[in-house]
Symmetry: C2
Subunit: 659 residues, 2 copies
């Protein structure tokens, strides 16, 4: 390399402090502190090709400490990626700039994951490393043989999810995973001494990790540490002793550099300190040339890989999976025909298992798992052997009691590509992994959540285990498709929709208890409409019953009771609100029965939200309190989810409407 | 003691397996495995008085592995608590039995915390231990000098929150905390080898804990380990090697005993194995006598404590705090008068800090904190010195980057009593601690969440940091009071309501950005109504604008614009939905403007939910997508939160209504 590494690193520092200063917002401390380490990684170790950001066998680099986003923007620009341009960097943190406050995977190729919510980048990197080992086991080193790197700060390490991610990576012996820890002893509140006394390295070693320390501002020492990490078969934590805001003479080493612009005076002082004599956003040619040269390091290797891919008999299948295409002709129609021929009265969690039987046989790219509730979530099928350190080709992960770690790992697997991860826990524990569910949605990744025991129907375990607010609150996460199927047919339909959805996550909310099969014909995937008329009124329609999941059965019973009184009632099953909202106005109006019928919602969860369909004059049957511990049938009676309890409320509302 | 400890322990085993068998539901494995350890603890070490379950200086015992609830029910019954009766135990897991599937603090004195969501009991125990040390520092050992015990399983230890709890306890050197780990090497999915390879003890030592191992079925060895733990100044993890389902000859040591009834044959076989010749729920007199004798161990010490309390000059103040009473005459009226006299244009997070200045001076029982966002959440005031290992009398906890651990610790502090915990993070990270927020609500504890940066008003940090669905989804958690105040006056009102609420949690959702003071008089606490008319229409009312928080300002601007067109518009501020819903129908109808006005909601978050007030014909101004990274004012414009953008939508709706 023609330029000194410190000079290259200072280009990062200058861009970081100048962009933050221009925005008067952002985090200069981390990029300035980790610039030296990042320079070594991106100029000497990382396998990538800026001309082909999506090269499937590239190393993955995850900036887990996402607030230091200017680090990755500077690196992508300097190494020759098409984006971000210098203009983009000038517009750091401004509307429509791809240089957003935190790195967003959907805005810039080269940003492997959306990071910022602390700890999750690290945990997604674990998922990427799992996907890499799995695909390497399936397709061989010729096609898949790369590393996963993460850059993490103290925040990432203190978060609870770190424990789950570290435990999972250690257990699965993910030696291709290397984490660079920006050990600067500073958090937002001040010194790490304020809040932690942990021997971090000892903790990592306790989970089967290799650890090594280095001076994060000594290039030779950084190389030594990385070399040691690469040579070790365990996942590695590379402890980089750094000075936050390195180069800002009066503020470095303090929390003042963490999350605010340095100020014009300090920026000027840093220019002096770093002997950086160039104007903001003006980079000297030799520095740019040296960076671009480093950025071309991977081109040859990429070319060789392309040759191997062309020559491989598995090449097309590999590309199919990486490009997220389902196998040609894949369909659950055969399975659905069998269901219609042989109706199943099963819990929808069991229906999901039956469906998965068909899916896992036909889709080799699925990787299932559960957070220690395999038998309850019904997530394992015969086709899926365990994925273990001894056999990465397996397709079932025993995630342990790590809901958040599981969800984040699934995000990482989906981001890596080549696999379709699904995983389960009890729906109530969606709260434990909610931050990762949100990132599934924000990142547009195909992850399927299999959430069982979806209401008081869970029964005896009581209120800590009974979802009340969960289904509705999950519907509010943008871009998350929430399904609550009513029977075995809908369950299969919702699974089909979840798999066909390439660009976003899906959640299946499934019962513990058995449900009758209400659908007697298949053909069209009616769940794709979000809501549909399951049964039309026989007498003149005065009521439209809107229900989901297990309460569709209750709605049918209620309709029967109404019809016996001569009151016509439609039954509408609404497995997916967001899909229904996307239908045209005429369809929606037709299903909801126009303005003349009384609309009644029945769902064993919070009523808040249902007025969206029932209006203020409708009736909302729901549960606006915590549940209780008792057998499920007792609870449904206790909380009024029976036709007997619902009928008088409808009659009262109808007679009020007549007045 | 007249009976052998094994015999006493077998009484627990018999009750556990028989109750689970009777319910045909539950978890016999843990109680049977930990019966010996629990017997030693409750007959020889634990300080308690079954005649006075609320004795303020009792040891706290938290069954973190809450699924093993029969253990605590058996212990409470055997040691002589009034509840549960044998009849209650016979009705284990049935509707209205206090012996619920998981232990509920609101159903049985002696159950110190609701547990079941794994990892949280342990983390609440950390909070209890913090409260104990704090109160001991304030009131002296004469009044406060007890230990906190937790019983945890592998699930509790694998959850991410365990890392946060362990780190916090180690950092604060909570030597009075002792955790009994039921190390049985079994989880639901099977052997722990399936999912973990961690050296747990090494991890604990890395965070400053003392660790000791014992044979959990050898009484002398259990005593040796507990004695060693008591002698060590650090928090202790007591690693108890146990056999899950100990005594069930064919199933012990396997996952089959974890979460299902053993079955009649195996229960019979266990009776043989344990030489337990008594019928289900029939306990031999000598065993009961020995247990009751053990239960009377603490009576003398309790009596001595009562004497010390009577003699103490601080006794009344201590009781006031423990009984959750605010100081006589406490009020924020003076502070509010000052606000009216000197209106503040500040962010509501700053308004919260100003209010806290008044609160913390007047209420010595508050303990504040933040998950490493002290300067952003504005949670620290001058009155609150740090609470540290060197000085437990401080009133501010630097929780570190541990949102979930903070929230659970606050639950534990509130359950312990004597303190009012409040703590902050960004509202978007309520997702990180949502499981603990839910337990605040279920447990009816006074915890105040100070959640700042409550919308896209957060600005440049972008979508990962901008709440969208959060406010609405939090409103759905039963028993959680969610406040979104519009200005400095409402912020103080909401704080007053949060403190006055003895039996449930509150959440303040606060802005990053400055807001004008809209309220010009105080007097009545209008926020107590949940919603109120901030400004009445001048022209004939055709529109009612419903808004919360920062959008109330937008509503006022919109009303001005409408009035300029001759359209009368009320502005209603709705700081707390649940309080508004609790008002009588006449008040609600009056505020919502009856049926003749167009209702328009304005809130910078999901619209799902607002139809509850606006009906289907109203207008909902909100945000049903993720935000973006840009300065706040650009975002409010981009997403239509300006009078200019809102006005045409209202005009269109009005003209549609006229047709």
């Amino acid at each position: 390399m023609s330029a000194e590494p410190r000079l290259l690193a200072n280009a990062i520092r200058a861009l970081a402090m100048d962009a933050v200063q221009a925005a008067n917002s952002g985090h200069p401390g981390m990029p300035m502190g980790m610039a030296d380490v990042a320079t070594v990684l991106f100029t000497e170790y990382l396998k990538y090709d800026p001309q082909a950001p999506h090269w499937h066998d590239r190393d993955r680099f995850v900036l887990s400490a996402g607030h230091g986003s200017m680090l990755i923007y500077a690196l992508l620009h300097l190494t020759g990626y098409e984006k971000p341009t210098m203009e983009d960097i000038r517009n750091f943190r401004q509307l429509n700039s791809p240089c957003a406050g935190h790195p967003e995977n959907f805005m810039l190729p080269g940003v492997e994951a959306t990071t910022g919510p602390l700890g999750q980048g690290f945990a997604m990197a674990v998922g990427m490393a799992i996907a890499e080992r799995h695909l390497s086991a399936v397709f061989g080193d010729d096609l898949v043989d790369h590393r996963t790197w993460a850059l993490a700060g103290d925040g990432c390490l203190m978060e609870g999810i770190n424990h789950e991610a570290v435990g999972l990576a250690g257990h699965l012996k993910l030696g291709r995973l290397n984490v660079l820890w920006d050990n600067n002893k500073i958090t937002i509140d001040g010194s790490t001494d304020l809040s932690t006394s942990e021997d971090v390295l000892a903790r990592y070693r306790a989970s089967g990790w290799h650890t090594v320390s280095c001076d994060g501002h000594d290039f030779a020492d950084i190389r030594r540490a990385i070399d040691e990490a690469l040579a070790d078969p365990r996942p590695s934590l590379i402890d980089c002793h750094t000075i936050i805001g390195y180069g800002a003479p009066n503020k470095q080493g303090t929390a003042a550099t963490h999350g605010a612009a340095l100020g014009h005076d300090e920026v000027a002082a840093a220019r002096d300190e770093l002997s950086w004599e160039h104007d903001p956003f003006d980079l000297p040619g030799d520095v740019v040339d040296a960076w671009r040269e480093a950025g071309r390091r991977g081109a040859d290797e990429h070319g060789q890989w392309r040759s191997r891919l062309s020559a491989s008999s598995q090449g097309q299948e590999f590309l199919r999976r990486m490009e997220r295409r389902l196998p040609e002709g894949f369909s659950l129609d055969g399975y659905l025909s069998d269901l219609i021929a042989n109706p199943q009265k099963v819990a929808t969690r069991k229906a999901s298992e039956l469906t998965l039987g068909a899916i896992n046989d036909a889709l080799p790219e699925t990787i299932g798992g559960s957070a220690d509730l395999t038998g309850s979530n019904n997530t394992k099928t015969k086709a899926t052997r365990p994925l273990t350190a001894a056999d990465y080709s397996g397709r079932y992960v025993y995630y342990g009691i790590r809901e958040f770690g599981m969800a984040a790992a699934m995000n990482g697997m989906a981001l890596h590509g080549g696999v379709i991860p699904y995983g389960g826990t009890f729906l109530v524990f969606s709260d434990y992994c909610r931050p990762a569910i949100r990132l599934s949605a924000l990142q547009n990744v195909r992850v399927v959540y299999v959430m069982t025991h979806d209401s008081i129907g869970l029964g005896e375990d009581g209120p800590t285990h009974q979802p009340v607010e969960h289904v509705m609150s999950l519907r509010m996460i943008p871009n998350l498709a929430v399904y609550r199927p009513a029977d075995a047919v809908e369950t299969a339909e919702c699974w089909a929709l979840s798999l066909e959805r390439q660009d976003g996550p899906s959640m299946l909310c499934l019962t513990r208890q058995n449900l009758p099969q209400l659908r007697t014909e298949a053909g069209e995937n009616l769940s794709a409409r979000g809501a549909y008329r399951l049964r039309a009124a026989k007498a003149a329609r005065k009521v439209v019953l809107l229900a989901t999941g297990s309460e569709v059965e209750t709605a049918v019973a209620t309709a029967d009771a109404l019809e016996a009184w001569g009151v016509g009632a439609d039954v509408v099953s609404m497995p997916c609100w967001s899909l229904f909202d996307a239908q045209d106005a005429a369809y929606r109006a037709d299903i909801l029965g126009g303005g003349d019928a009384l609309r009644v919602s029945i769902e064993a969860g919070t009523t808040l939200g249902w007025a969206r369909y029932t209006g203020l004059d409708g009736v909302n049957i729901g549960l606006d309190r915590f549940g209780a511990s008792a057998p499920a049938e007792d609870l449904f009676k206790r909380f009024g989810f029976t036709a007997e309890a619902i009928l008088p409320q409808i009659v009262a509302a109808l007679s009020q409407g007549d007045q």
